[in-house]
């Protein structure tokens, strides 16, 4: 199973939402779409889903254009969640599953273990308006996968969820990946993307800034970086750092070209109390920040 998108373009009036976006996925891989707000991630996903038509370009599922048969094999979780608040959870799940080609009996059967897994079994016969926000999001995730789709598209799937729910969804996504599904999701959550994505595509202002295997991209941008866990206040490190990302207790530093990790260690050792020092590939977050800044300076 694979999806291939070739040179997708989409504009709204004078605004180019997506410019020349291309990608290709394989079975059993997770593809991450990363970008700031308004970058064009949701528009891209909607074009792949067939909700929006691209102005130019082509999208193929297993070599075919989107049709009803393929639509039944797709699971979609939109960015802005919405289900029928006045209706009972079970009825909504059955309805959405039937639209995906599942029979009523099969839908009822399949929802049981999923509801149990997300601890929603007691709410099966309740109206969705009685659900909390997190519960409604979990229910909507269930509606996305209840028909065991081959292609799963998730727009900001972790947004608004507590850590336990994030882990539950992540576990299911990894299970689906291992069973050969094609998964694509957009997110701002770099940590999650880093943990589960095999491929990423970074979008900014509609442009595809970088795309490819996550590991290869990290190697490509991962020259001369260190990660330091410390106590105390971080001093001015502009003499050794080209870029850095500071957190309360650690910092990730991309060293200047003429600075070695040993030199950086020597510089820092008498200024802060170092708990851990590591030569690393940069995090997706710092690659993201670097590329977006470079991209914006070019603009």
């Amino acid at each position: 199973m694979n999806i291939e998108a070739k040179h997708l373009f989409k504009s709204y009036g004078d605004i180019d939402a997506v410019k020349d976006f291309s990608f290709s996925t394989e079975s059993g891989k997770i593809y991450g779409l990363i970008g700031p707000n308004g970058a064009g991630k949701s528009t891209t996903i909607r074009m792949i889903m067939g909700i929006l038509l691209p102005d130019r370009g082509e999208i193929l599922f297993n070599g075919e254009k989107l049709n009803y048969e393929i639509m039944e094999k797709i699971g979609y979780l939109p960015e802005e969640r919405g289900l029928y608040r006045k209706q009972i959870a079970e009825d909504v799940l059955v309805y959405l599953a039937e639209l995906k080609g599942l029979k009523r009996g099969d839908a009822l059967q399949r929802m049981t273990p999923l509801l149990e897994r997300f601890e929603l079994s007691d709410f099966r016969k309740k109206k969705i308006e009685s659900f909390s926000k997190g519960m409604a999001q979990k229910l909507q995730f269930i509606s996305t996968i209840i028909h065991d789709p081959d292609f799963i598209f998730l727009d900001e799937p972790f947004s608004g969820l507590d850590p336990i729910s994030v882990d539950q969804i992540r576990e299911i996504l990894l299970e689906m990946k291992n069973s050969g599904k094609v998964i694509m999701f957009s997110t701002h959550n770099m940590e999650q993307a880093e943990k589960i994505c095999d491929y990423i595509s970074l979008i900014n202002h509609g442009d595809q800034v970088v795309s490819g295997k996550l590991e290869e991209i990290k190697k490509q941008f991962g020259k001369n970086s260190i990660s330091v866990e410390f106590s105390g206040k971080l001093p001015d490190i502009s003499t050794v750092a080209k870029n850095y990302t500071e957190y309360p207790k650690w910092v990730e530093i991309e060293l200047k070209d003429d600075v070695t990790p040993n030199q950086a260690l020597a510089f820092l050792i008498d200024k802060i109390s170092i708990n851990k020092f590591e030569i690393v590939n940069p995090s997706l977050h710092s690659i993201f920040v670097k590329l977006v800044k470079e991209d914006e300076s070019e603009l």
Binding site: R46, M49, G50, I51, L52, Y68, M71, E72, I74, Y76, P78, E79, E80, R81, G82, L83, Y84, R85, Q87, Y95, L96, E98, L99, K100, Q140, S143, F153
Partner: protein, 436 residues
Amino acid sequence: MKKFIIIFKHEFKVFAMNKTFIVLTILGPFFLFAISILPSILTTNITKAVTLVVSGDPVNIVDLVTASLKQTSIKVLNEDQFIELLNSNKKYRDNKNIQEKIDIARNKNDRNAMVSLFDFATSSKIIDGYLYLNADVMQSNKAELVLKDVADFTTVGTVQYVLQQVLSSLRLVENGMDPGLVQKLVVQPEIIVKQISEKGKIKQDFLTVLMTGIGFSLLVYMTILLYGQSIGRAVLTEKTSKTIEVLLSSTKPLNILYGKIFGQGVAALLQYFIWISMGLVFLKFIGPLVNVNFSLPFQIEYLAYLIIFFLLGFFLYAALYSIAGAASDDQQNLDQLAWPFIIFLIIPLVMISPIVTNSSSPLVVAMSLFPMTSPIVMFVRIISSTVSISEIILSISLLLVFIIISMLIASRIFPIGILMSGRKFSFKDIKTWLKG
């Protein structure tokens, strides 16, 4: 087709299982009963309820008018009977001011005092009004009829007719005709009103027809508006809650549009069938058992026209409301966009009286053919007058054409509008979407 059927079944179930729908279905027969049967009861009660005092200076004319009015359904009182009625109530018997005025009116023969008592009694609803004849009524040909309810044209018409008969007779006698001969010649004819139909003639009366026309036009108006608004709201809710995106990942926009309209349309049709069936069962079987014998003020077959015109009206306004829902961003926006076509539902209600009384006039005929008003107007014309089958077919045909055009417009606008959000859209935006 498969997706359309799934959406159709879902929309039907959601609509028909809704509490409002169930309550309306149960209460509907009572409403239908009221608008079918009550007009007959009410018209009888209305004419019987009027109590008038006849007073004035030319005693002979007052007596003649009183005697003639007593032969109608109006209850007539002379001045003595009026005072007796007033004094029968302890509140007025003990009222010093009223008793003083009665004394002045009687003992000093003060007409102003008597008239002020009449005014008081009319405004206090002790009587419905009074007819006062001045001394020069024969010469001036004018009289004063004071009523609490000046819209009571039946009473006004009756009093006018009686007075005209009395004055004409007196003038003939004054000009030398034999009184006995005048009485024979000036006889009020009895007019029996009947409506012609395929089954022959049915006795009918104007007020029953008017009330029935008002009732059924209200029913069709309310149900079309209610169900149309439901469609608009459902589209708006799916759009603003983003549920529409989930649906669009499974099916095409037009399946959603048509599934919604037909699903709710069939639910509404079911409701009409339940209402009519319950009504007919009552009329045919239960009514006679409990000794209640009523009849519909029109042929039962005309109920088929009720269903046809309601259904056609529903589909037309459902298509229009789906356009408005798709183009709206909130309920207020929806109401603003829907207003221009709701007007066409309101106009027949406002004009119901001329529609009933003048149903063959060019304007009313045009309204019964113009698709935006015909669902209400044509049905009211059918039950209140004889409408040719060719006119009915033409009205239905024009409605069908309009429905197809509206559905085609909705088909263009709905897929675009449901994905647009963030601001209020105007008719200009809708026009742009239509051009594609």
